[in-house]
Symmetry: C2
Subunit: 188 residues, 2 copies
DNA sequence: CGGAGTTTTGATCCTCGTCAATCCGCGTGG
DNA sequence: CCACGCGGATTGACGAGGATCAAAACTCCG
């Protein structure tokens, strides 16, 4: 656990290596994962003296931690940093809005297809084909997509049966029919 | 319509008076409203040369429009503006994440209760009691909460039967049991 | 092997979506 | 003034997608 929802927001972080999930909880334990972060991403930018979500490393991770008081100084020293962070934040907002569309209006199959294509895109930017790794467990995927573990599992099985994907050892997935998945993602 | 998703993002706006809804669409017409804006709010801050969503005025509205090229100049002229906008953007992101929790994990009743309490809070900041106005139609509420019109209507009726709210002429609502609604909002 | 955690699969249930009818408020025009 | 029509809201009947509950199968390590 890097920090918890409600903690005083004394630091901000940059993820150097590894993967992190950030989530919010309802009092009875229902969880919504609001993002998966990879190397290069920032944590704790949006704040209001306490963190708005909990951040946990999924596996081993390396973070760069900046005290918020020093951060103010950094902004002054490095012109252009503020603009850059603003852009980062804007992109996050855009991503968040896409996710709202997904959570509010997409079916389970569409949600999974969107998720897989998202990961594929991330992976291919670092030079991959249709092969990708799922660093998170099913429960994480479910809580990210607003589904249950069972539905995630069933939908993946169906994709497998339909020949859209292939499951490989080591939690890796091969997207065999990206065209079909892309259609599903778009939502018709 | 102020601008559409996909339009080149030549301007940014500040809403002076009235109410605006912003939404995203799936190709088959399913709609997700990602926000309702009131006087003082900004539109088009987050961008990537095209707008990420469609913005429509709900009723008569007044907007202040700034050409994006001039906006860059404004930032240079007014130090502190960038920081202020950054804060605005941060808050929007936080709100967006709350909405993800709502869309992904809350039940219909919890969604409605959250929505009503949100509006009540907005209204009470401008000095109101438990009385609030719904400037938007049922379909808008449904598309904001990831529900259907029918479910919204049924849930409102149930709240009415249960004595949590009272419907008044002119699309106004009186929250008679804010305590119960607040419990529902929190989610248990 | 053994055993815990995770994933898959099956059976059943229930919330919410769909389809359809009715109702209500309101403006229009005969 | 009242009949009509229209968009929005409500209500009802029904069905489906996904949740829930339960059990089996797989993985990974010790």
């Amino acid at each position: 656990v890097i920090f918890r929802e409600g903690d005083p927001a004394g630091f901000l972080f940059n993820l150097v290596a590894g993967a992190v999930r950030i989530h919010k909880l309802l009092p009875d334990g229902r969880r919504q994962i609001v993002g998966f972060l990879v190397a290069g991403d920032f944590l704790g930018l949006a704040y209001n003296d306490t963190y708005g979500y909990t951040a946990e490393a999924i596996g081993p991770a390396r973070l760069c931690r900046v005290r918020r008081t020093e951060y103010e100084g950094l902004l002054a020293e490095l012109p252009g940093l503020e603009k850059r962070l603003f852009t980062v934040e804007s992109n996050e907002l855009t991503v968040a809005q896409d996710q709202m569309l997904l959570l509010g209006r997409k079916t389970a199959k569409e949600k999974l297809a969107t998720f897989l294509m998202q990961l594929a895109e991330r992976a291919s930017r670092h030079g991959g084909d249709g092969m990708l790794e799922l660093p998170m467990v099913r429960a994480d995927i479910a809580d990210y997509l607003g589904l249950t573990v069972e539905t995630v599992s069933r939908t993946i099985s169906q994709f497998k049966r339909d020949g859209l994907i292939r499951l490989l050892p080591d939690n890796r997935v091969q997207l065999t029919r990206r065209d079909v998945l892309d259609h599903l993602r778009a939502g018709d």
